[in-house]
């Protein structure tokens, strides 16, 4: 073990005189309490380290011990269903004696290679697989256990080509800043179903995609992330609470065990890992928590799972970078952030991908980062750099949020570069018209913005009926389709089939209403029709998404509009 002696302490950063070799990124233990830290700079005899715990009480003269290893976290089947701090140390009491059941997939004597599944592992949460470590390109399996084992028991032994042998346990360490290798990256052509209409139908994200949710305070970033964590069709959720509220973590901990994953019938908590570094926890660990989260995500991706990682909020991570950088005396760039902010962000988002794993299966890691721009201004550095690295952008709007119009995603400020690649997915899932329907809705919303500006000058009453109808249709899209309360037991998630039905009903309405107005019907009469209220509330009222009920609604609409039409022509 190499040692160093502290020469100065300032907040989360210490400097020390070294006696022996240290390397950049090495984990260190500092002071009597052995506080965890990481070497961030080496120069001559001096090392600089950021400390991941409260540094109160540290003093010059205290010792620093090198670990000889890069900052790492412990990965294993125990992670699912639990809550950890920014460096993956348990926050809730962990059952160290927990036993897992092993079912070997390979016989002793067979040769195996990196990433290959050795055994199926069953524990309290969902079944997982034990893999050959990524750094072993080829080996022969000597021995493998069947039956029960704890995390650190040796469960398999491999012989490497050079004759040395390697013991494998259920848990292993992995450096947080090093991406786990994959065989190759795959194109983003499979949709991650979120159950949120405005996302899936207008701004979808592919598996392995990267999305950002920027928005001022209280606009709904956290609720949206929690909603996705609950209802998206991922196999594993990694929820990183980075510099946000303790109560929000508590909420996830309370709610998720009670909620059921609609696809498996199991408690949602069983597919979830929480990494929590709340705003009052040490700031350096906040910086690390993002890497910890992606590393955990990659670990599950390598087992062939579709993983979705939520990071709330990446702005707090960037601020932690800024704070540590300031303490290091680095030259600040834009808004005081270090010049390497952008490259760090790209490194992080690059770790999202749909991949063929080393073991030859398909897995994905989708990353969704919240961004908290100061004063809600999207031109600030973190938002603008994020925009360069994500393909999907869900911009939250303060005006919508204040009207309690949720999710407050602004349809004209959001985009999805994944959408083009997902047309086939929608066709395969029952909606061959998705592309045209989507652009019809986007056009309508675009037209609405223009007309509303005009209404502010001439007054709505003075507008021609066709324009009034455009406003009515756009308002209906907002109310009936884009709005979706996260707290409604019936509407909080909306499967693709139901989205397709709803889109169909809307399109039919646009056509019929247009024809009716052409016949001379009053727009206010359409808005006052009985079916109109049913249409506006269809998400809530047709809870099960039953196609026959949608058909009935469309029929009601047809008869009523025809009836209204007759009154008009009779009157003429």
């Amino acid at each position: 073990m190499t040692q160093a002696i502290i020469t100065s302490v300032a907040g989360p950063v210490i400097r020390a005189r070294r006696e022996g070799g240290f390397s950049l990124g090495e984990a260190v233990h500092v002071g009597e309490a052995g506080l965890l830290g990481e070497v961030v700079r080496l120069s001559g005899d001096e090392i600089t380290a950021q400390i991941y715990e409260d540094t109160t009480g540290l003093a010059p003269g205290d010792s620093v011990e090198g670990s000889g290893l890069p900052l790492s976290v412990r990965l294993g089947p125990h992670l699912l269903g639990n809550i950890y701090d920014g460096l993956l140390r348990p926050l809730a009491a962990e059952d160290v004696a927990q036993r897992y059941h092993l079912r070997p997939l390979v016989e002793p004597g067979e040769s195996v290679r990196a990433g290959e599944a050795l055994a199926e592992v069953e524990g309290p949460a969902k079944a997982q697989v034990l893999l050959v470590p990524p750094d072993i390109s080829e080996a022969k399996l000597d021995h493998i256990e069947t039956g029960e084992a704890t995390l650190d028991d040796v469960v398999a032994r491999l012989t490497l080509p050079d004759g040395t042998s390697r013991e494998i346990a259920l848990a292993h360490d992995w450096p947080v800043r090093r991406p786990r290798p994959v065989a190759r990256r795959l194109p983003p052509d499979e949709m991650m179903v979120t159950g949120q209409r405005i996302l899936d139908s207008l701004f979808p994200i592919a598996r392995g995609g990267r999305a950002a949710i920027p928005g001022g305070f209280g606009t709904g970033k956290t609720v949206l992330q929690e909603t996705l964590a609950k209802w998206c069709d991922a196999d594993v959720i990694v929820y990183v609470g980075c510099g946000e509220r303790g109560n929000e973590m508590a909420e996830v901990l309370h709610e998720f065990p009670e909620l059921e994953d609609p696809r498996t019938g199991r408690p949602l908590m069983e597919r979830t890992v929480i990494v929590a570094n709340t705003s009052n926890m040490p700031v350096a660990a906040r910086e690390a928590s993002i890497y910890t989260g992606v590393t955990v995500g990659e670990y599950f991706r390598d087992q062939g799972f579709n993983v979705t990682l939520m990071a709330d909020s990446t702005s707090r991570w960037a601020e932690a970078l800024r704070e540590v950088s300031g303490r290091l005396g680095e030259l600040p760039s834009e808004s005081g952030y270090p010049a390497y902010l952008s490259s760090r962000m790209s490194e992080f988002y690059e770790r999202a991908a749909s991949v063929e794993t080393l073991g030859g299966t398909r897995g994905s890691l989708t990353v969704i980062g919240a961004v908290s721009p100061p004063a809600g201004d999207f031109s600030e550095p973190v938002t603008s750099h994020t925009k360069r690295y994500v393909r999907t952008f869900w911009g939250l709007d303060r005006g919508r949020a204040q009207a309690r119009f949720y999710p407050a995603i602004h349809p004209l400020q959001s985009y999805s570069e994944d959408a083009g690649g997902l047309v086939d997915w929608w066709t395969a899932h029952g909606n061959p018209n998705w592309r045209t329907q989507r652009s019809r809705i986007l056009d309508l919303l675009e037209a609405q913005a223009g007309l509303e500006r005009m209404a502010r000058i001439v007054g709505k009453d003075a507008m021609p009926p066709t324009q009034q109808l455009t406003l009515l249709c756009a308002g209906l899209v907002d109310d009936a389709f884009l709005r979706q309360s996260a707290f409604s037991p019936t509407d909080r998630t909306c499967p693709p089939d139901k989205q397709t039905e709803m889109l169909g009903a809307l399109m039919r309405f646009f056509d019929l209403a247009e024809a009716a107005v052409a016949r001379g019907m009053k727009v206010e009469a359409i808005a006052g029709a009985r079916f109109y209220r049913r249409l506006a509330r269809m998400g809530e009222e047709i809870a099960d998404g039953d196609p026959t009920r949608f058909a009935a609604l469309v029929e009601e609409m047809e008869t009523e509009l025809a009836g209204l039409g007759r009154e008009v022509s009779d009157a003429v």
Partner: protein, 470 residues
């Protein structure tokens, strides 16, 4: 007391609130220090930086009168702590926890650090008990729950003090007695008058013996403001988690706190972030606000009602902005409403309570409370848009429906937001439906048919009957 450095020789420089010492003792970061000048007055400070040669101490009291050659420095060997015990309530303390009411010190049962209190999120209970404040715009639309941190975003000259005192006097769980209730008031750089008027209000309502006050007055050193909320919260945590009380902490004015933070940061020569405030202001404020909550297995709760004044009425200023990113919502006071004589002048649209959904509805308030709130918000937001429209095209340029919204908005402000006496929940709830009934049922898309039937239809029937009578 661990170590004392005699007069002379220890101090190398004094700059603003910072005292630079030669490093002749082993002391750690964050430890408390007392610096006594030739005048014999001990000043409290803490170690903020250390290297091999020197120690930097930040004084929380005035450095005026300190000379380089005549100071004595006492190292406490531990961070700032506070003695806690029974008898905190009914007392008045200064900004660093010393009795200022002439009474004896609080008997010491335990001694706690004033700056810890990182609650492990895994031990937190979920705040969900609805607190009735008596204010309609809060109870119905931005409900407060126990363990929440809900700031009041105010501005110079607005009646935030009156509102906070009113809430402190009224705030109870529905149908609960007083015994387990306590108020901790932290005056941070406040004027003597506003401290006194709060005290008088509490005295008048007979709640003074449930109240502990921590006062750092405007005339007192600003560096001390950094500690005042921490002493107050340490006491509040004792009352909540040791004595099992439901504690409401009023922190006023957090803007003064942030100004002090900026001042101290500048004196350290740190690189400032937005508007000169330090880059770590978010984290620093979080260490205060995150101390709200409740802990599984403990009887009491700690609810925070911080007050801040938005510089230049600007909600995007770093102080309200960073606060909003940490707290669980905000109650925004509005000057235009105040000018129209509306009290409390709560602008409900930018206001928000994030924990509301956990504390209202079935089993808490009324099953239809969430729908009522949703519909009121949607309608009032539309009214606000129509108002802008009508200011350009005039009332006549509006459609029939839009004119109804205009009237709805006016009545909502004049009768629902505006209130003389405090209102009970049921009264506010009924009033909400009453006003909503001005709009045609077809417009109420956030309500189910059953809700319209149950709450709107009776109002309409009554109105019809009255019209028939008249």
């Amino acid at each position: 007391m661990r170590f004392e450095l005699g007069a002379g020789g220890a101090v190398t420089a004094i700059e603003g609130p910072l005292v630079f010492l030669r490093r002749v003792v082993k002391a750690g970061l964050g430890e408390a220090v007392e610096v006594e000048g030739g005048d014999g007055r001990a000043r409290l400070g803490r170690i903020v930086a250390l290297d091999e040669e020197g120690i930097v101490v930040e004084l929380l009291e005035s450095t005026a009168g300190l000379g380089i050659d005549d100071v004595t420095v006492r190292f406490r060997g531990e961070p700032m702590t506070m003695a806690l015990g029974p008898g905190l309530l009914g007392r008045v303390f200064d900004g660093v926890g010393r009795a200022r009411d002439g009474g004896p010190p609080v008997p010491e049962m335990v001694r706690r650090r004033v700056d810890t209190g990182t609650i492990n999120p895994a031990t937190r209970g979920l705040p969900k008990d609805f607190i009735e404040t008596g204010v309609s715009s809060i109870d119905i639309l931005n409900s407060l729950v126990r363990g929440q941190k809900l700031p009041i975003f105010s501005a110079g000259g607005l009646p935030h003090d009156r509102l906070a005192a009113g809430i402190a006097q009224t705030a109870r769980l529905r149908g609960e007695d007083e015994a387990g209730f306590a108020v901790v008031f932290a005056g941070i750089g406040v004027s003597h008058d506003s401290a006194e008027s709060f005290r008088a209000a509490m005295e008048q309502s007979g709640a003074l013996e449930h109240t502990a006050m921590f006062l750092n007055l405007a005339s007192e050193p600003s560096a001390q403001r950094l500690l005042t909320p921490r002493y107050a919260l340490t006491a509040a945590e004792y009352l909540a988690f040791d004595e099992g009380r439901h504690v409401l902490v009023i922190l006023t004015d957090m803007t003064n706190y942030c100004e002090a933070l900026r001042e101290v940061s500048a004196s350290h020569g740190e690189i400032p972030s937005r508007k000169g405030y330090p880059g770590y202001m978010y984290s620093d404020l979080a260490t205060i606000f995150e101390r709200a909550g409740w802990i599984k297995g403990r009887a009491g709760t700690l609810t925070q009602l911080p007050i801040l004044t938005m510089p230049a009425d600007d909600i995007s200023h770093p102080i309200p902005d960073l606060t909003g990113y940490i707290t669980e919502g905000q109650v925004v006071l509005d000057r235009a409403l105040e000018h129209r004589g509306i009290y409390p002048p709560v602008n409900v649209l930018p206001s928000l309570s994030r924990l509301m959904d956990q504390g209202i509805g079935e089993g808490y308030t009324h099953p239809d409370h969430p729908a009522l709130a949703q519909q009121l918000f949607a309608a009032y937001a539309r009214a606000a848009r129509v108002r802008v429209l009508s200011s350009v095209v005039g009332r006549d340029g509006l459609t029939e429906t839009d004119r109804l919204y205009l009237d709805f908005g006016d009545r909502f402000e004049a009768e629902f937001v505006n209130q003389g006496a405090m209102r009970g929940f049921d009264e506010s709830f009924a009033l909400g439906w009453e006003i909503l009934a001005m709009l045609p049922p077809g417009e109420l898309a956030r309500l189910s048919d059953a809700q319209i039937e149950a709450h709107i239809a009776p109002v309409l029937a009554r109105a019809e009957a009255e019209a028939g009578d008249g």
